[in-house]
Symmetry: C2
DNA sequence: CGGTATTTTGAGTATCGTCAAGGCCAGTGG
DNA sequence: CCACTGGCCTTGACGATACTCAAAATACCG
């Protein structure tokens, strides 16, 4: 269905799932990593599939290995609203906590690394540093949510779209998904349809389309296809969405190792 | 200066600071509560005073005892943008973490309960359940941030303002600050100036003013003073901002005791 | 190659931002 | 005590932007 432009790749192995992808876990003690590895499962979802239903208490805690998940709220009347995106390395799930407040759906074909929740919580009890890692990840996610709030508070649709592109651009750069051929302009793939993007940015699909082409007319981006965007002037995009110095804050630069 | 309408009250004692106000801490073991109590300090801030400067690494972790803190980002050119409000019971500060991404300022006269950071972290090491409490609080805050995102994604200023009122209304209900004389309509105090509100909701002060009076013309609210609003039809407000069933989700109802 | 969903474009209307002016309140100084 | 001042809220008029409805163009899929 939608978004078949993602390249499929069938899973990865479990070891890769832990050490390489869960950035905050990379510094854990070897024995703990081994324990995590032994309970990890790799799951694959096609674009459009539901990963977590709103209101249910899922039996696993997970992290995105590859692809993008959209976190959304579905209303009784069928409307749905996206409140966040999870990219490679982001954790989700609620340790010590009840049902999910939002549902999650694969925006692209996605591979996730899942840990059975009860066993994960047992590990937390045994290894306090694991809880600390979870806590840091949630703090990180909080920063990201606030970053979206800054983007959403821009008046013009064009500015909100620019903010969306900047965030996507930077986050993808962090996970090394961005084409950075140095001399070449970065190119990003939009993981959402115009309709979803409109919901997310508080606008209508038509306005999103017009905003894309307005940015293109000003030579800030180039629309290769509706989903493949070449960034021609990132600084200009950053300037128009109010994320000027956000590049230097936690959500972008904070990728530390846990001190211990 | 601004917002002198808050009633001043000089501090409370330290015991009240912990047991009664930090809702998530109320279920901790008595010995841990005693330990927390022994390191707690009560601080008072006048409306407009800075509590935490952006970028600094403060030496304490805290929680709001009374009043409202606004969390904001200040830009080099002087513009500032509010990304959240902290009311009674909300924790702030970054355990195991670096500098603050945002600054905090007292929106009203505010009393906070502060714990020296290093000593608080020592307690966490000794009492794992304390870290769990911190984690739950942050998860709660994450839900609140996403709730704001839903509000901000509304198209019309009137809808975003309605959402703001609903959130304020419910949160204040939780902290028992709301006049609930049963037969009487609830009444809330706006902790922000029209200018700050405009920044927060992505609009201009003039539009905020017009939105207030539009809601008043439709008999959904009554403007007693620019800062004292009587809610005439809460259901209507909820319906127009897309928070219909949010009343049943974590951000509103989740006030559990930690199971143990 | 046809059918469907999505994106794009266009024209008209509603809403919001902008600029300007007026009113209200508090604090100040004569 | 009163006039003055400054800040904030409010109101009005006009231009810019976005939403609505409709239709055309494009992409996708069998």
């Amino acid at each position: 269905m939608l978004l078949k432009r993602q390249n499929e790749r069938v899973t990865g192995n479990v070891k890769r799932c832990i050490a390489a992808d869960l950035r905050v876990m990379s510094s854990l003690q070897p024995e703990l990593l081994t324990a995590l590895q032994s309970i990890a499962r790799t799951l694959h979802f096609e674009a459009g599939q539901a990963v977590v239903h709103e209101g249910e208490r899922p039996n696993y805690v997970g992290a995105v290995t590859e692809g993008i998940l959209k976190m959304q709220k579905t209303f009784p009347d069928g409307r749905e609203h996206i409140v966040g995106l999870l990219v490679e390395g982001d954790m989700f799930g609620r340790v010590h906590h009840g049902a999910h407040t939002f549902s999650m759906e694969a925006a692209t074909n996605t591979t996730i690394c899942a840990f059975p929740r009860t066993r994960f919580e047992s590990l937390i009890d045994a290894w306090p540093e694991l809880e600390q890692v979870v806590l840091l990840d949630i703090l990180d996610e909080l920063d990201r949510a606030r970053e979206w709030m800054l983007v959403l508070a821009n008046h013009r649709t064009t500015e909100r779209l620019a903010g969306f592109l900047v965030v996507l651009c930077r986050r993808w750069a962090n996970v090394a998904k961005l084409q950075n051929n140095d001399e070449q302009n970065p190119e990003i793939q939009i993981p959402l349809s115009r309709r979803d993007l409109a919901h997310f940015l508080g606008a209508r699909p038509e306005s999103i389309s017009r905003a894309f082409h307005a940015l293109a007319d000003d030579l800030h981006i180039r629309i290769k296809t509706p989903y493949d965007i070449e960034i021609l002037d990132l600084q200009e995009l950053i300037g128009m969405c109010g994320l000027e110095d956000f590049a230097e804050t936690a959500a972008f630069e904070y990728r530390p190792s846990v001190s211990r």
